[in-house]
């Protein structure tokens, strides 16, 4: 095992002196963005298979690309949230680390990208299946604040073979 069991562990003091983290973001931003993503994915499902459904799913994929490249606060949904939604809300009670939702954007892009890839090589069902999987994740995020993509992070780390 590469990870030695005697490696020093973050001690109790780490809670008092947290590691340097990027500036926090309003946690309602990613949830608002997820609601818009969920609506687009629902439209994709309603369109079934065909060029229209593929086009809407491609838009979702491009939104995920923005999220991966710039973080959720840099997506079109994030900009819309800051411009029109946040001014109408009370200040957030706490800020959130921007890295977990950004990781979830990577997961979303992989799912939607796989669906588009399947459609491109002759399996049109890839579009609704990918849209359904992504819709579940985006809906749970918008409705309950659950970041399903974030939950996959540790599982992925566990699967990485030890060297």
């Amino acid at each position: 095992m590469s990870d030695s069991p005697t490696a020093p562990i973050a001690d109790a003091q780490s809670a008092d002196t947290p590691r340097p983290t990027p500036a926090g973001i309003d946690p309602r931003g990613p949830r608002f963005g997820a609601a818009i993503t969920a609506a687009l994915l629902a439209i994709t499902l309603l369109l079934g298979t065909g060029p229209a459904a593929t086009a809407v799913l491609t838009v979702v994929a491009l939104l995920f690309v923005l999220g991966v490249a710039r973080g959720v606060q840099g997506t079109l949904q994030g900009l819309a949230f800051r411009a029109w939604v946040r001014p109408r809300l009370a200040p957030p009670s706490e800020l959130e680390d921007p890295r977990p939702p950004r990781f979830a954007q990577v997961v979303g892009l992989l799912v939607v990208g796989a669906g588009l890839l399947f459609a491109a090589v002759g399996f049109p069902a890839g579009v609704p299946v990918a849209a359904a999987v992504a819709l579940v994740a985006a809906f749970l995020n918008a409705a309950f604040g659950l970041c399903l993509g974030c939950e996959l992070y540790l599982l992925q780390r566990r699967w990485v073979p030890q060297h």
């Binding site: 069991p5 005697t6 977990p100 939950e151 996959l152």
Partner: protein, 177 residues
């Protein structure tokens, strides 16, 4: 969680032929999909929020194969005389700061209680040894370092205190016996 997602997707594809290809059928599928996802999530979250007894604890009635207790050497920190909360955090964990606040506060106000925060990526050996699948996961150790109970997800001070009371009750009783 991944398993749940695939179950939901499986339900969707098995329902697809019956629902037809019309707009109403597809809308009904979306509603069923989202209702199923919500149901699975609410049940999962409710179950995860409680401190569940570890079946690997050496207490009588716990049936699992014992897992070696954590030592203060491994943790680079003294164990609490009453109990130790070991929190597994990670870089992509949105709920971890909330749990950290609750447990730091608890460790500061309750005597004999220690809170240790572990960055999971750096300690995959412990992640595997204690079957941690998501962050935050919190293990409550007895004074000997054996895992008494565990929870995952958001944590309230009330639930953490209740788990601590349960632990104190059982360790006192097993000393009496």
């Amino acid at each position: 969680m991944a398993v749940h997602t695939s179950v939901v997707t499986g339900t969707l594809t098995s329902l697809a032929p019956d629902a037809g290809s019309g707009l109403a059928g597809r809308a009904a599928l979306i509603v069923i999909l989202l209702a199923a996802a919500s149901g699975v999530w609410l049940v999962t979250a409710r179950r995860a929020a409680r401190f569940r007894p570890s079946k690997n604890h050496p207490l009588p009635g716990r049936t699992g194969a014992p897992v070696a207790a954590l030592t203060s050497t491994e943790l680079s920190h003294e164990l609490g005389a009453r109990g130790t909360f070991v929190q597994f955090s990670s870089a992509t964990c949105a709920t971890c700061p909330q749990v950290r606040r609750v447990l730091t506060e608890l460790a500061a106000t309750e005597s004999g209680v220690v809170h240790i925060d572990i960055q999971s990526e750096d300690h995959m050996d412990l992640v595997r040894r204690f079957s941690v699948y998501r962050t935050p996961t919190v293990l409550l150790l007895d004074p000997d370092g054996a895992v008494h109970s565990r929870t995952s997800g958001p944590l309230t001070p009330t639930r953490a205190l209740a788990a601590l009371a349960q632990l104190s009750h059982q360790t006192t009783r097993s000393i009496d016996v």
